[in-house]
């Protein structure tokens, strides 16, 4: 009986040795990255069912219900058009300003809501987290899936606006699909980063609106990106034009708006695609690893 902390006096094992002998694992241990990814894949049905349920319940206590999925982007576009199209009259520079503006607003909103709702992906689901053990990365991915469904609705509205304002349908329209895939990957990564930070730093939610408004003005949503080149020093314009949201917006405009290409698109398509892939990979992989490293901490305190 050399050991003082014996679990079973007869066997003479310490508790840790006993646990090891029967293959018990430390509770709440973080699995290795590959196993974590495999577990997450096993939860794909949960993620799709949860996101569908969230979409279904999102407007459940309004009179118009799911109609808001279409009305929200339409109203948004109308407000921005009123201010920047009619009152400030930006449209001298860009031929089809309504379509140009709406493309920017809808693509920006997709990433904006990823950043905003990402901060509450963990804190808003504490009940679920404290009750059940599942890979927590399922939650930020669900957030993105919900937004993707809302975005697809906006895209239908956008296609209507673009056609209505006299743009032709070209083969370039097909490019919108890979562009949205890349943006979604970027958004998942961003949501995961925001989710981990937001679960610790609760003040983040107060700061986000300001950050996002700055990002809005730096992304050429409301005016032609060419303004940056005209008014800013070269390095600043280049930096702004590498900003991920701007890249995705410009790609969408390149794909959908025949009248804007090439004079009103910031850079060459090749440069935009390279940047789009880079941002997606950097944020997609980086965000996932960053989120995984905090797996043990979620839902505690």
């Amino acid at each position: 009986m050399a050991n003082t902390a014996v679990a079973d006096p007869e066997s003479g094992l310490t508790r840790a040795q006993l646990a090891q002998r029967y293959g018990l694992r430390v509770a709440g241990e973080r699995p290795p990255l590959a196993e974590y990814a495999r577990k997450l894949w096993a939860y794909r049905h949960f993620m799709t069912a949860y996101s569908r349920a969230k979409v279904a319940s999102s407007f459940s206590n309004t009179q118009l219900g799911q109609l808001w999925q279409v009305l929200t982007p339409l109203t948004n576009a109308a407000v921005y058009y009123l201010i920047f199209g009619v009152i400030i009259s930006q449209n001298r520079h860009v031929p089809n300003f309504i379509a140009y503006l709406c493309t920017g607003v809808f693509i920006f909103t997709f990433t904006q809501s990823a950043a905003l709702q990402g901060t509450s992906a963990i804190t808003g689901n504490l009940g679920l987290i404290r009750a059940l053990q599942f890979p927590r990365a399922a939650l930020p991915i669900t957030v993105t899936l919900v937004q993707l469904q809302q975005l697809l609705m906006s895209m239908v509205v956008l296609a209507g606006i673009v056609l209505f304002t006299g743009e032709p349908i070209t083969f370039r329209w097909l490019l919108i699909a890979p562009m949205l895939v890349l943006q979604s990957i970027f958004n998942v990564g961003l949501t995961m980063i925001m989710a981990r930070i937001g679960s610790k730093v609760t003040d983040l939610k107060q700061v986000m609106p300001f950050v996002l408004r700055t990002w809005l003005y730096g992304s050429g949503v409301l005016y032609s990106v060419k303004l940056f080149e005209d008014r800013l020093p070269g390095w600043a314009a280049t930096a702004l034009e590498s900003n991920p949201i701007l890249v995705y917006i410009e790609l969408a405009r390149y794909a959908l708006l025949d009248s804007a290409y090439p004079e009103h698109i910031a850079s060459s398509p090749l440069r935009l695609w390279t940047l789009a892939v880079t941002w997606a990979v950097v944020f997609g992989v980086g965000g996932f690893v960053y989120f995984w490293r905090g797996e043990k901490e979620y839902g505690r305190g």
Binding site: R21, R25, G127, A131
Partner: protein
Amino acid sequence: MADQTQPAGNAAVVDAGRVPTVVVDDVHVIYKIHKGATGGTTPVSALKRIVSRTNAPNIREVHAVKGVSFTAYEGEAIGLIGSNGSGKSTLLRAIAGLLPPARGAVYTQGQPSLLGVNAALLNDLSGERNVVLGCLAMGMTPEEVKRLAPEIIEFSGINERGDFASLPMRTYSSGMGARLRFAISSAKKHDVLLIDEALATGDRKFRARSEQRVRELRDSAGTVFLVSHSISSIRDTCERTIWLESGVLRMDGPTDEVCDAYENQK
């Protein structure tokens, strides 16, 4: 190899049919709580605090579990008793891997599942949808869910007074919600199931049924932990009981002995 030869003496005989599922080794749990708005709530006092570098006064550390050790075996149902705030729920959450021990360690077989009264799913959604989501969140396949969903609703008994399964969960009474949650969590075979006061809210008929379900889970080689203030339901379902007081293990033994001591102390 060395592991297998070491307990070859008398201990191996004693332990022959007893496989440990949860080993709690000198666990201390300390957590931080936000006390909410106390004291200075004006912007000026908040600024003063930042400038003078004093820590935010609304965070306090609570040492909830102080050095608890025990081993639970396959097929055991263990009751946890103690007065309010004695650390029972905290201990369960540490076993479930949801709260990290500050010192010591918890070893478990498989993934323990915690079933608490506030294990809320989506309140805006119907009971049926919550069943599907809950089962998927426990890692079931869609086929299994389809097969089990009617059974779960049947067991919960929420449809006894009309079609409640298709109504949003926020319209349920607290007892109905708790019954549905218990039905969902107990639909899956768990190696270790942790139940926190969940049976207390159901009516008498449901209580009998759920106690039966706990016995079944236990018989299928699972380990069940039950936190309850109802000593009679502990006596009915558990053969071993642990008594916690102020985060310290006061007594650990056969239910009758521990419960008698607990009741006599009052």
